[in-house]
């Protein structure tokens, strides 16, 4: 699908986040890592809140994690998602110590529980956008 016919909200990348979205397109999950103290942070931002260094590196994440919490949406709130209901949105504790939130794929809503092992996968939404999704580990 091209961006012209895509009817869902698009991320507006900025200077800090562009490497994240570029890696997504290559089906790689990358996270910011402080170049001074090594603390991993997400979502992307310019300063390390542990040592205040602005020296930033990008690291490859394992994509492994566990369910932290979730919701199952039966109302779309945006016309672009009406055909996708119900949406299972999962917050995941990544092994790297940060979290992410994305739609679940092939996860039984009834079987969701805190600590359930999951992995990050990738779905191409448009030619220029790949979104993360969460699958069973």
């Amino acid at each position: 699908m091209t961006a012209a016919t895509y009817d869902k909200p698009l991320p507006p990348p900025n200077e800090e986040s562009r490497p994240f979205w570029e890696a997504m397109k290559e089906h790689r999950l990358v996270l910011q890592k402080c170049g001074a103290c090594g603390k991993v942070r997400h979502y992307p931002r310019p300063v390390c809140d542990a040592c205040f260094s602005m020296d930033t590196e990008w690291m490859e994440a394992s994509g492994k994690g566990q369910v932290h919490s979730w919701t199952i949406s039966h109302h779309a709130f945006h016309p672009g998602f009406k055909g996708d209901l119900p949406l299972v949105l999962v917050i995941v504790d990544l092994d790297e110590g940060v979290r992410m939130c994305a739609q679940a794929r092939d996860l039984d809503p009834e079987g969701l529980r805190i600590g359930l092992p999951v992995r990050v996968d990738f779905e191409d939404a448009t030619d220029d956008l790949t979104l993360p999704v969460i699958r069973p580990a």
Binding site: P12, Y43, I72, A125
Partner: protein, 384 residues
């Protein structure tokens, strides 16, 4: 002990429009009507207002109040962009400005066409406070407050055994209170079963866990305590006031404890400033954008431990006649969604003895909270 702003200022006037679904009027007209009512309630003239804190969404700005109210010399203006925590956070800003000598009488107006006007929807990405989840979570379909807050409620349920029927207790209590209020939108009786049978919006939040969308406006006047004594109404003293921001304020998903919000930081400051304990509170107006939000705030306020909110709200404790009556006007869930300024007005009315059929007997001290923008919190403790 840090007494800070304790009893330095008072609420001297309150004003509310009719609350409706479909006002047929501009936001400016609604806010000006509420402002004029609050000014008249205080026994002031519009020209006496020398400070204004418009709502932080910038739909109305200080200039509009100067022009419409004929204010010759507005000396102080500010905004407190904390979403639903803005109204009560503005009380802290107004009080600080008055104590510093920057203004004498500060007007805080809030109002909107929340029912008949445009929804925020996809435009949330353009709001600075929402930019982060707007970039990383909205593209996955995480759009609206019900979806954003549902995982907070879900985690609370999983960790502490909190149930949907406990959320229902809150919804039913707010409805029962609204049924006593002539200016409430929802007057039809609601039962726990009605709540349990209502459609799921974003699990675990059902339709009757969600607040209304309303048209209307409300306003208060904050004045210095000395000046307040000479005005038309009994002054309602601001004993303690504070705002607090949660960890990871821009992304709920990254918050270390999903069940803890900014109010947990603000509440101890406000109680210390007021110099009172929780047992002194006769009535509480708690920002209720969702039922769960009330339960969570009662814990973060310190009325019970984290995880005990479900038990706390059960058994009639938060109803009129109970140990801690909450949202005596019906709240955002059943009176109207005036972004919590209706809660501030209700607390003042209770402490004046103007609570009508919902009056809490001998109410002397009460509190009001705000909650907004993914977990910002604010609190004011007042006495008569």
């Amino acid at each position: 002990m840090m007494t800070g702003l304790r009893e330095s200022c008072c609420v001297t006037g309150v004003g509310e429009t009719e609350y409706t679904r479909g006002s047929g009027r501009s936001v400016a007209a609604l806010q000006m009507e509420a402002a004029l009512r609050a000014i008249a309630d205080a026994g002031l003239q519009p020209g006496d207002i020398d400070g204004v804190i418009p709502y932080g969404n910038m739909e109305m700005v200080a200039e509009e109040f100067i022009t419409n109210l004929g204010i010759e010399d507005l000396r102080f203006s500010a905004v407190t962009p904390l979403g639903g925590a803005s109204a009560v956070a503005a009380i802290q800003a107004a009080t600080s400005a008055i104590v510093a000598g920057a203004a004498n009488h500060v007007l805080i107006p809030i109002g909107r066409n929340g029912y008949s006007g445009p929804r925020i929807g996809g435009r949330a990405q353009a709001i600075p406070q929402f930019r982060v989840f707007g970039e990383y979570e909205m593209p996955s379909g995480n759009i609206a407050p019900a979806q954003l807050y549902a995982p907070m409620a879900r985690r609370h349920m999983e960790l502490y055994g909190t149930t949907s029927r406990q959320f229902a207790e809150i919804a039913v209590t707010m409805r029962n209170h609204a049924m006593l209020n002539d200016n409430a939108v929802m007057k039809k009786p609601l039962t726990v079963e009605d709540h349990q049978n209502s459609r799921m919006i974003s699990d675990p939040l059902r339709l009757f866990d969600c607040c209304l969308e309303s048209d209307g406006a409300a306003a208060v006047i904050i004045s210095g305590a000395e000046r307040a004594k000479d005005l038309a109404r009994r002054p309602i003293y601001i004993m303690g006031v504070a705002e607090g921001h949660p960890d990871s304020p821009s992304a709920i998903s990254q918050r270390p404890d999903l069940t803890k919000i900014g109010l947990a930081k603000a509440a101890p400051r406000a109680f210390a400033m007021a110099g009172i304990g929780h047992e002194a509170i006769d009535v509480a107006e708690v920002y209720d954008c969702f039922t769960y939000t009330v339960l969570c705030q009662l814990e973060d306020l310190g009325f019970c431990q984290k995880g005990e909110g479900g038990d706390f709200v059960s058994g009639g404790r938060i109803a009129l006649g109970g140990e801690l009556p909450i949202n005596t006007h019906g709240g955002l869930l059943s009176q109207s969604h005036i972004i919590g300024m209706n809660h501030v007005c209700e607390l003042v009315k209770q402490l004046r003895g103007d609570g009508g059929k919902a009056q809490v007997a001998d109410a002397e001290i009460g509190l009001v909270t705000g909650y907004g923008d993914l977990g910002d919190g604010s609190i004011a403790i007042m006495r008569n």
